[in-house]
């Protein structure tokens, strides 16, 4: 492939020609390395003279550190140092999106929650570091703590408005509710949940020739490097962060505590230091989805047309950082109504700071809204699919903005057809198969789409290959492969001639793998770089030995975008069986139909959607962080106690998509990482109601809750 210049120019220099790579199923570029063990993750990369740090975590939920017996630990075999608030480097305010109190580690003697890092023991081997950490005696002046969340907690306060989505105040909610013939008014709760990525967080930091080098497990090396530079008062030019392979993140791998502590230790000890978290430390220190309590009021006329949606939610945060779980997003965009009101409350408690966890806001928010819609369907006597179709909006219900594209109706119709919904008897508690009661349920979901500014470069080589450099992260999503396909089509070359370089902060500014906007953001930049490269190649006779490089930066193009409602949508269908004797719930099959823009790689996109649905199933039936009120500590901080669905819980799950053309972004990509979990839990809970006649408004739908709810009420 040396004759690349003979290829036709792209239309307008941005939109890719139909090269056929995008839209064709491809296995991951790094798949072989991963399954053979050749792929190295952050904790696998060897370094000369590497020392190992082990976290020491607070054991009280609130108080001050009064003493720390470091002398005894420093005398232990192999121990090189103990980093603590008395000797740790001073940090500047920094965070991915504004100063983040979680990152201010070892800066003072305050203890804000159980499981806060209070020291790092560094030794020659991980075992020696662990022994040192276990031996470090820390004494505390304990203060009374409060870790019990509830919506009406006196510490609750209104959350600051999201910049792009203030609280909704459309119409007169109270008047509509007062006048409506049908009103659903219920409370829904979801528990604390944990990301549980397969690869525990790990970071290595070292200083080499006055430059800080980091090997990390994160979701965006450029943004992590920027935060690190600010935090430690360094020029970002001297900070390099890489995260070549990442074993899952689900939102938990921003700037991890292990990274900050590894940099501190490498700085103090002047040698490479790796900090790898144990599973229990991951549970304690890397964020969580906060418990929520939501009140939903829906009012409709006698045909099910919505007159009012009133959605009030409360979730906890910590005392050191205000994290807002934005559960009401869906109530702004899903359904047309005469009046829509949303309110969000945060309750600061002596708990770890929550963070984004797959489908933040939407996962728990859709459980409340879509359960309430099912209750409304029941109250009005309208089929739940039909109810949603009747309330399909033509523009943003609150914003009034046009939808960039929206094809939820097709998801509902095509999903209903494939699932066999038409034959459904709406009466609950009537289908029995031996000891099982059977039921089906439906729910919808949405998640914000769009692209954020990124840069990319593509270098054409004399040998006919192309090297794409973009600060993307592949956290198991298949982003690396997807971007190769996008680049191949944009260049008009076969994917085999494209080489990918990602996950390195030196590759330039880029959005991170988050908000379901990674692939859309990076693809746009890659497409722009390809256009630039093709222009440059057009002016040279042949590619010089050091190659020709084209660059793309989407900052201006994204800044010039008009305002629109941009979301991915999905409709999910579930069939469950409920054991009449034990209350066990088994999901028999699930189908998700999605409208998620242009699908780059059907193989990995389906994997993302099925993964999201599986996580939603897990949320519906299993996941629940249990805290001890007296200690404020997580009781089940391991996989024996914190249950995620096992293979035997996950039945036949199918995910597919309908046509969804979004012209607002030249890549047409919307993102599939989060929409898969939006609505899943409600679909399953609605199916449990259909099976048993008992409504479950508290997640997870545990077997004892099913049994003790008076089940089976309709037998």
């Amino acid at each position: 492939m040396t004759d690349t210049t003979a290829r036709p120019r792209t239309d307008g220099g941005v939109v890719a020609p139909a090269g056929g790579a995008v839209g064709t199923a491809r296995t991951r570029l790094e798949g072989r390395d991963k399954v053979t063990g050749a792929a190295r993750y952050a904790a696998d990369v060897p370094f000369d003279g590497l020392a190992h740090g082990w976290l020491v975590l607070s054991t009280v939920a609130r108080g001050r550190i009064t003493s720390m017996d470091t002398a005894a630990v420093l005398g232990m075999p192999g121990v090189l140092g103990v980093v603590h608030h008395g000797n740790a480097p001073r940090l500047h305010p920094a965070g991915l999106f504004g100063p983040d109190g979680q990152l201010q580690l070892l800066q003072d003697d305050r203890v804000p929650h159980v499981g806060r890092p209070v020291a790092l023991v560094v030794a020659r081997t991980p075992q020696q570091a662990r022994a040192g950490a276990a031996a470090l005696t820390v004494t505390y002046a304990q203060e009374p703590h409060d870790t019990v969340f509830r919506a009406g907690h006196p510490a609750g306060r209104p959350a600051p408005a999201a910049p792009a989505r203030p609280d909704a105040d459309l119409g007169d909610v109270e008047a509509e509710i007062a006048a409506a013939p049908v009103v659903v008014d219920q409370r829904y709760t979801t528990p604390e949940e944990h990301h549980s990525a397969m690869e525990p967080h790990a970071s290595m930091a070292r200083w080499e020739d006055g430059r800080l080098e980091v090997v990390d497990s994160n979701q965006g090396s450029f943004m992590v490097a920027r935060v690190l530079a600010t935090l430690f008062g360094l020029d970002q030019e001297i900070v390099r962060v890489r995260a070549e392979h990442v074993g899952g993140g689900f939102g938990s791998k921003g700037v991890g505590p292990q990274l900050v502590l590894a940099v501190m230790a490498a700085t103090l000890l002047r040698r490479p230091v790796r900090v790898a978290l144990t599973r229990r430390q991951v549970f304690s220190t890397t964020g969580l989805r906060p418990a929520t309590e939501q009140r939903l009021r829906l009012a409709s006329d006698s045909t099910g047309r919505l007159r009012a949606i009133d959605h009030a939610t409360a979730a906890f945060t910590s005392t050191i950082q205000e994290y807002v779980e934005r559960n009401t997003e869906a109530s702004n965009v899903m359904y047309a109504a005469d009046a829509i009101r949303t309110r969000t409350t945060v309750v600061p408690l002596d708990l770890p700071t929550p963070g984004w966890m797959r489908g933040p806001g939407a996962a728990a928010g859709s459980f409340a809204l879509e359960s309430a819609m099912d209750e409304l369907a029941q109250a009005v006597g309208v089929d739940p699919v039909e109810l949603r179709l009747r309330n399909e909006p033509s523009a943003g219900p609150v914003s009034g903005l046009p939808f960039s594209s929206r094809n939820l109706a097709a998801c509902l119709r095509e999903g209903a057809r494939r699932f066999g919904w038409a034959d459904r008897d709406p009466r609950p508690g009537t289908r029995r198969e031996g000891r099982w009661l059977l039921g089906t349920g439906v729910a919808c979901g949405s998640y914000g789409a769009g692209a954020l500014p990124s840069t990319a470069a593509i270098t054409a080589r004399a040998d006919g290959s192309y090297t794409v450099s973009v600060g993307a992260a592949d956290i198991g999503t298949g982003a690396r492969t997807a971007l190769a396909l996008v680049a191949a089509d944009a260049l008009g070359v076969p994917p085999e001639s494209v080489r990918m370089r990602i996950a390195d902060s030196r590759l330039g500014a880029a959005w991170f793998a988050g908000g379901s906007k990674g692939t859309a953001s990076w693809s746009w930049a890659v497409t722009a770089a390809a256009a630039d490269l093709r222009e440059r190649l057009a002016s040279v006779d042949r590619v010089p030995p050091d190659g020709v490089t084209g660059r793309g930066d989407t900052t201006d193009a994204i800044g010039a975008l008009g305002k629109q409602e941009r979301q991915s949508y999905g409709a999910q269908f579930a069939e469950v069986a409920v054991d009449t004797g034990t209350g066990e719930v088994r999901v028999r099959r699930m189908l998700g139909m999605f409208a998620a823009g242009r699908i780059v790689n059907p193989l990995t996109a389906r994997s993302q959607l099925v993964g999201g649905m599986t996580m939603g199933l897990s949320m519906a039936l299993h996941e629940e962080g249990a805290r001890d009120e007296a200690l404020g500590a997580l009781v089940n901080s391991d996989f024996a106690g914190y249950h995620i669905s096992a293979h035997a819980d996950v039945p036949d799950i199918e995910a597919d998509w309908v046509e969804d053309v979004d012209d607002s972004n030249p890549s047409g990509i919307k993102g599939v990482g989060e929409v898969g979990i939006a609505g899943t839990a409600a679909a399953i809970a609605n199916a449990v109601w259909h099976a048993t006649g008992v409504r479950h408004r508290a997640l997870p739908v545990r077997l004892d809750r099913v049994l003790e709810s008076g089940f089976p009420a309709a037998r």
Partner: protein, 295 residues
């Protein structure tokens, strides 16, 4: 922590006599978790993996002598006919990887009430072959569990094997967990019909400080089956009998509330499992050949 690696059974016994606090380790599926979580820090570990005879079994005329380290996966594959209750229980143990490593000796050694093998051992009437340099003794499984994670082994004893009567009738095992696999039992129940003696035996797991039998329930059902002539007729016991059996099984438990379930839920679910396993085993009894010669 010392790590002792005897090459033979005799060396293992000698090591255990010399280091009575050494904790035996075979599959390590339970013990390593405890060490990892720092729940215990033994002075020494006694590695039994070089002793191949612990992974072997002998099938006699009336009993199976099951080596302490025979993995659950082997029990599932090879001893389904002889030990159906234990084979069923083995199916519910953790994951394939764990079933390839873990064996009944480990369940007995740690004596956790949640061990999946216990109900089947109780229901079949197993005996534990405990050996030390002083000699061998057989401990009836009824006398083996002394308290939470405490058993009847002397400090110098090791479990060589478990002797289980070959099944003379249908056996069943059922377990309730908060998910469908890889789960610590919320409660578990084993039932064995012994048509040769015209008795039944039971085992309850995860619902009392130790694995226990529901003796009153066994006596009730044994009498009801005899009084009704069920062993000969094959007729299923009346629903009222099954319900009373279930009630008595639930009453034999002494459960607690914990993160996996409430005590009330456990009692209820045990009753359900008792009724179900009775239905399953009796159905199997009716379907197997009950000609007079072998009834």
């Amino acid at each position: 922590m010392d790590f002792l690696r005897p090459a033979s059974w005799q060396e293992a016994l000698a090591a255990k006599a010399e280091y009575p606090t050494a904790v035996p380790i075979a599959g390590g599926t339970d013990l390593m978790v405890e060490i990892n979580f720092d729940h215990r820090r033994p002075d020494a570990l006694l590695d039994l993996n070089r002793i191949t005879e612990l992974r072997e079994w002998e099938t006699g005329r009336q009993t199976v002598r099951l080596g302490a380290s025979v993995p659950y996966s082997r029990i599932m594959e090879h001893l389904r006919a002889e030990l159906p209750g234990l084979a069923q229980a083995a199916h519910t143990v953790a994951s394939p990887q764990i079933r390839n490593r873990g064996g009944v000796g480990g369940n007995l050694g740690t004596a956790s009430p949640a061990g999946d093998a216990h109900p089947a051992l109780l229901a079949s009437g197993a005996r534990i072959e405990a050996v030390s340099v002083r000699g061998t003794r057989m401990i009836d499984v009824d006398d083996f569990y002394l308290g939470v994670k405490r058993n009847a082994l002397a400090p110098d004893e090791l479990i060589r094997a478990v002797h289980l009567p070959k099944a003379t009738g249908p056996q069943a095992f059922a377990k309730v967990g908060t998910r469908n696999a890889m789960v610590i039992a919320v409660c578990a129940f084993g039932l064995a019909l012994h048509p040769d003696r015209r008795t039944v035996r039971t085992g309850i797991g995860s619902a009392a400080p130790t694995p226990v039998r529901a003796r009153v329930a066994e006596d009730f059902l044994t009498a009801a089956l005899a009084d009704g002539g069920h062993w000969d007729s094959g007729r299923p016991p009346a629903p009222s009998v099954a319900a009373e059996f279930a009630r008595l099984v639930a009453g034999a438990a002494n459960p607690i509330d914990d993160v996996r379930g409430t005590a009330a839920y456990r009692r209820h679910a045990l009753g359900v499992l008792a009724r179900r396993t009775l239905g399953w085993t009796w159905q199997a009894y009716r379907e197997q050949d009950r000609s007079p010669a072998c009834a």
